[in-house]
């Protein structure tokens, strides 16, 4: 074991692999009560790099917990550290996906729409 060449790791202590895939595979948005606020599945466009999500009428947009599912070995920037303010609908939040080999970076825009009455 000791003779093996050390595998490269990045600044977060995560393994850098050979994978170049870089995309979001699933997106979830939780409210203050940790229950989903989506009315239906989020639409993820991996070409346009957008996540379109419709939330229930009356959702508190200032207190939402986003959850991204990424392709194997990829990571997210900025990291999700807690509840996030999504209330500025005109300026959607952006998150970058970084591939497993840390060479590809794609920035996704999260467009939140509130269910109309």
């Amino acid at each position: 074991m000791g003779c093996r060449k050390e595998a490269p790791i990045d600044e977060d202590g995560l393994l850098i692999t050979t994978r170049a895939e870089c995309y979001v595979s699933n997106f979830e948005l939780l409210g203050a009560d940790f229950q989903t606020v989506r009315t239906k599945n989020a639409v993820i466009d991996t070409i346009a790099c957008t996540v379109d999500v419709t939330v229930f009428y009356g959702t508190d947009l200032k207190h939402l917990y986003p959850q991204f599912t990424l392709v194997t070995d990829a990571k997210l920037d900025p990291k999700i550290t807690g509840f996030t303010d999504f209330s500025d609908l005109a300026n959607p939040r952006t998150y970058s996906v970084i591939s497993g080999n840390r060479q590809v970076r794609k920035t996704y825009k999260v467009n939140v729409t509130v269910q109309p009455r």
């Binding site: 009560d33 009428y57 009356g58 508190d60 200032k62 207190h63 303010d85 009455r117």
Partner: protein, 325 residues
């Protein structure tokens, strides 16, 4: 060779070291003895019980138990009592009480039972009903017993911190009728009572079945955007903007009285950060809840939805409240 002898010697030592002492049945103490456990869990809220089980025994040859008493550092409510019955469980699993003395008498801080039956061993339950005057203080208990041969024993319990929280259970709320909730008074008012209490109304309960969206059971501040108070004309003077945050899976044991051992304690209210919280919550389901902070910053509360009924446009709520200042 030398090391071989040494290791052999070591082995011998190990073998002898492992020998056990002969077991002897412990000898019972030949005197009056007592023991006590606290049975209730969770924060000690005024109005609720702190329950103890106090066990007393002495050998039959020495005499019998004459009396048992509990002294609390702060007098409990008048309903505080020490059980005057000893219970056993019968074949059907029911607890059957056998009277061993006269019903307990409360005198100041002391609750006492005088024994009337020849009793050598007994476990008595003690129910201390927490008085409002003890809120934020600590309470201690001294359990003691006397036997006919003049022996006395005592057992100290505590200190126990008494919570600063107030609690109210099972307030019925109904759309357009009993729908005005006051955290300050921990009460629900009808429109008729509102003018006299207008400055104390923190939330309005309403039920709306609106096609296309999930509005249903809601708690909305009188000062919230009118969009969340559809088809309501509020009585004049209602304008408080109360912060509310929806919660799920927080079925406080005191409020819900279900099988979940979760308790909201003083600390939860002290550490609660309601910054940026909205002034309404909609689509509240049964067993959901909401954290509340009043507009004047005086109170924080947790409102639990015990039951919601769509057809009757009503709900039953319970509330724990903490006074900040």
């Amino acid at each position: 060779m030398k090391s071989y002898i040494m290791s052999l010697l070591g082995l011998c030592l190990l073998v002898t070291a492992c020998k056990d002492k002969e077991y002897a049945i412990p000898e019972a103490k030949n005197e009056l003895q007592n023991d006590c456990i606290k049975r209730t869990l969770g924060p000690n809220v005024a109005g609720l019980n702190i329950e103890f089980a106090y066990a007393i025994a002495l050998p039959a040859a020495k005499g019998k138990i004459v009396s048992a008493q509990v002294e609390a550092s702060i007098a409990g409510e008048a309903t505080t009592y020490l059980e005057h019955r000893s219970y056993y469980t019968n074949g059907s699993g029911e607890d059957v009480g056998i009277q061993i003395g006269d019903p307990a008498v409360n005198e100041g801080n002391t609750t006492k039972v005088n024994f009337t039956k020849d009793t050598n061993a007994v476990t008595l339950r003690y129910f201390y009903v927490i008085p409002k005057s003890a809120q934020g203080k600590e309470v201690r208990f001294t359990f003691s017993a006397k036997s006919s041969n003049g022996e006395t024993v005592s057992y100290a319990m505590g200190p126990y911190k008494i919570s600063k929280m107030d609690m109210v259970l099972d307030l019925p709320v109904k759309n357009a009728e009993a729908s005005f909730i006051s955290v300050a008074d921990m009460a629900v008012y009808t429109e008729k009572d509102v003018p006299a209490n207008a400055d104390k109304i923190d939330l309005v309960y309403l039920y709306r079945a609106i096609t296309g969206i999930s509005f249903n059971h809601a708690l909305v501040s009188p000062g919230a955007n009118a969009e969340y108070l559809p088809d309501i004309t509020l009585p004049p003077g209602l304008n408080r903007v109360t912060k509310v945050r929806k919660t799920w899976n927080l079925r406080d044991f005191h409020l819900a009285r279900l099988q979940y051992g979760i308790y909201i304690d003083d600390l939860d209210f002290e550490q609660l950060d309601m910054t940026g919280s909205p002034d309404y919550v909609i689509n509240l389901k049964s067993e959901a809840g909401a954290w509340v902070e009043t507009a004047d910053g005086r109170y924080r509360a947790y409102i639990y939805m015990n039951k919601v009924e769509d057809s009757k446009k009503s709900a039953t709520i319970s509330m724990k409240r903490y006074t900040l200042k």
